[in-house]
């Protein structure tokens, strides 16, 4: 980078050096994205970090330009979004990129999260890295929820009503909190205004937490499909050009899929009824959240019984909150010294069952609790699946994972990443728990 910089202070190289000696951004980039030693055996599931970074930047850019034309007022919001769609140059493109961007952002983050669960990326020494990840997920949910309210369609309004009303389940202060959130005694202009404000700022908070996430990553180094630590330079490759090339390819494929949806099926993931203006006097036949919230929605609604002094509503809120909070403590629930599910024959099966369980919960969330799962089978309503799915969700984290960590007989780990020849008689335990060696 700086080999031919000596002759003058005016060349680009000279400027780079001048800046770098005062603020070492270029040294930093070179170190963290140039030489950064990455395990040589990443598969394409390791592409999603780059994809997520891209999605966040895309959301911020399209969002800022939407905000230039959007009007956060109950009597104008809906029309201002339609104006963006019709009269702003390429406004439809901005808006469809933003609304489908949220969908693709969540697809990517869920893949990223399940990748972590499969390969044990949350384990020592990456617990804090994982926690920042879960914080990002929670902030993304808050961003998407506040954003969905902005176009002020029927689902915007009624979705906001259902979700904010959940806070009223909190004993004693619940109603007071709801009034405080609304900025009044109903969802109205003050609510829309503050949601816009929050929606504008939260993604920048996400950006900051992503920075922490990445700094933490670069301290511990990346996990890899084998889940064992690199033992030396033969196990790693410099990030550039190897992973810049690989990530660029994966990202291009991802953007192609995204573009296909934006341009050819932009409303596929959306709820049609949100193209009806919000009407506080007319409740839609069914209030459904966006697809990425459906599993949580199913968990919320699966608590349809009172338990002791906890009524069904509060119970649902507690359990739904718990379903996210439990992710924070996964590093401590899983005591297995082996990271990657490749060497955990039993956990591997439970991983897939858990994934199916989440899909099932999503499916349940999209149906009314008392709808029949199969036409004509009176015994099986969606709420029954919701009960089973929710129970399994918690059993997986609170029973299966801790117990497997203690009793599972893991397969022998390879001696090193460069020599992934199995059966070398290497004991499983221990290797993964050793702190990362710096290559």
């Amino acid at each position: 980078m700086s080999s031919h910089t000596q002759h003058s202070g005016y060349s680009v190289g000279g400027l780079v050096k001048w800046i770098d000696s005062r603020l070492p951004v270029f040294t930093y980039l070179q170190k963290e994205y140039g030489e950064f030693p990455a395990p040589r055996n990443f598969n394409y599931w390791w592409n999603f970090g780059a994809i997520l970074s891209f999605m966040l930047v895309l959301m911020i850019f399209t969002g800022i330009f939407l905000a230039m034309q959007y009007t956060p007022h109950v009597s104008m919001a809906f029309d201002s979004v339609e104006r963006i769609m019709r009269d702003v140059n390429y406004g439809w493109m901005l808006r469809y990129m933003h609304s489908n961007g949220a969908t693709f952002f969540f697809i990517a983050v869920y893949i990223h999260l399940f990748r972590g669960l499969y390969y044990g990326s949350y384990k020592n020494p990456r617990e804090l890295l994982w926690i920042f990840g879960v914080v990002i997920l929670v902030l993304m949910m808050a961003s998407a929820f506040t954003g969905y309210v902005l176009p002020w369609g029927q689902m915007s309004f009624w979705g906001a009503t259902v979700i904010t009303n959940l806070f009223s389940a909190i004993p004693l202060v619940g109603d007071w909190i709801v009034t405080w959130l609304w900025g009044g005694f109903a969802i109205d202009n003050p609510t829309l205004n503050r949601f816009f404000s929050l929606h504008f700022v939260l993604p920048f908070v996400i950006f900051a937490v992503v920075a922490l996430h990445v700094v933490a990553l670069h301290v511990t180094g990346s996990n890899n499909p084998l889940g064992i630590d690199p033992k030396g330079p033969q196990d790693t490759l410099p990030f550039h050009p190897y992973y810049t090339a690989k990530d660029s390819f994966g990202l291009a494929v991802w953007i192609t899929l995204f573009a296909a949806v934006v341009f050819f099926a932009p409303n596929f993931f959306g709820e049609p009824e949100n193209y009806l203006r919000a009407n506080p006097l007319q409740t839609p036949a069914e209030i459904v959240p966006e697809w990425y919230f459906l599993p949580y929605f199913a968990i919320l609604r699966s608590i349809d019984f009172d338990l002791w002094f906890i009524d069904a509503k509060l119970g649902g809120v507690i359990v739904m909150t718990g379903s996210i909070l439990v992710l924070f403590v996964v590093p401590w629930l899983d005591r297995s010294p082996v990271r990657s599910a490749r060497f955990r024959p039993v956990y591997k099966w439970f991983f897939w069952i858990f994934l199916l369980d989440c899909v099932l919960l999503g499916f349940v969330g999209g149906h009314r609790p008392d709808d029949l799962v199969f036409e004509g089978v009176k015994q099986l309503e969606f709420i029954d699946l919701g009960h089973v799915g929710t129970a399994w969700y918690f059993i997986h984290f609170l029973v299966i994972i801790p117990v497997l960590g203690m009793i599972e007989k893991t397969k022998p780990l390879p001696t090193s990443i460069a020599e992934p020849v199995l059966g070398g008689g290497q004991a499983a335990a221990g290797a993964a728990a050793k702190p990362m060696e710096k290559a």
Partner: protein, 261 residues
């Protein structure tokens, strides 16, 4: 991991994600009693779909001559008709047939003037109360976005307009209600708006109920997503570009990695 295993794993992921997405989008809105609209053949479907401009123009005529007595179209301005192949003078003439209230003038008075191309389509009623008062308490939906606001879109519009029928014996119609199996609850406050010959087409198309319903559904699809043709045209360029870019990046990746494998 061998490639077969890897592929089957990827396929499994794709299937379950697909299922998840299906779960997210299949939400039947009390469909058990309401009949599901039959899918029609539209020229605008699919990535190559285009507007049927002739049908849309006829649909505009149906809207202006029939539906606009009750239904507003509040996202559309007369100038938007330029996109349908009308020239500036024709658009001016269409607009001028309607009166809008403007003002205040220099004396502080409101006044009526003919609509201009920049005006939005004139609303049939001054406000929702007036609309309800004239429609037996029901509100005629704004039609601009209806094609996007109902899961079955234009199929639904076509089905409602052609679905009026005598009620079966076991159905008790409410006061001023009409039987229509496609409308939620099967009773609709709108009386059948289209009858054979309700409009007179100038291009020789027969004004059957089905033709008019199909034309007006085409028109309302256009009002819901007027950007559709631009979107698909640009979409093809973007997607083809990205496919080539992906291929090039794949080749680059192979080249870069060739020394490692």
């Amino acid at each position: 991991m061998d490639i077969g295993k890897r592929l089957s794993r990827a396929a499994a992921i794709a299937v379950v994600t697909g299922l998840a997405l299906l779960g997210g989008t299949t939400t039947d809105v009390g469909a058990s009693e309401t009949e599901h609209p039959e899918a029609q053949d539209w020229k605008f479907t699919g990535p190559f779909g285009k507007f049927d401009i002739a049908a849309i123009q006829r649909g505009l005529q149906v809207y202006l001559e029939v539906c606009s007595a009750c239904h507003s179209l509040n996202q559309i301005a007369y100038r938007n008709l330029l996109d349908l192949g009308f020239n500036a003078d024709e658009v001016k003439a269409i607009a001028a047939e309607y009166e809008v209230t403007d003002g205040p003038d220099d004396n502080g008075d409101m006044f009526e003037r003919p609509a201009r191309p920049s005006d939005k389509f004139v609303l049939p009623f001054a406000n929702e109360k007036a609309a309800r008062a004239s429609n037996n308490g029901a509100f005629p939906t704004d039609l601009s976005l209806l094609a996007k606001a109902h899961p079955a879109g234009p199929d639904y519009i076509f089905a409602v307009l052609t679905g009026f029928d005598d009620p079966p014996d076991d159905v008790e119609l409410g006061d001023g209600m009409n039987y229509n199996p496609y409308f939620s609850g099967k009773q609709i406050a709108m009386a059948q708006p289209l009858f054979e010959g309700s409009v007179e087409y100038s291009d020789g198309t027969k004004a059957t109920v089905e033709n008019m319903a199909r034309d007006v559904a085409n028109f309302l699809h256009w009002t819901a997503e007027p950007e559709m043709e631009d979107r698909k045209r640009i979409g093809w360029k973007v997607v083809l570009f990205l496919l080539v870019l992906s291929a090039l990046l794949y080749a680059t990746k192979r080249k870069v990695w060739s020394s490692v494998h």
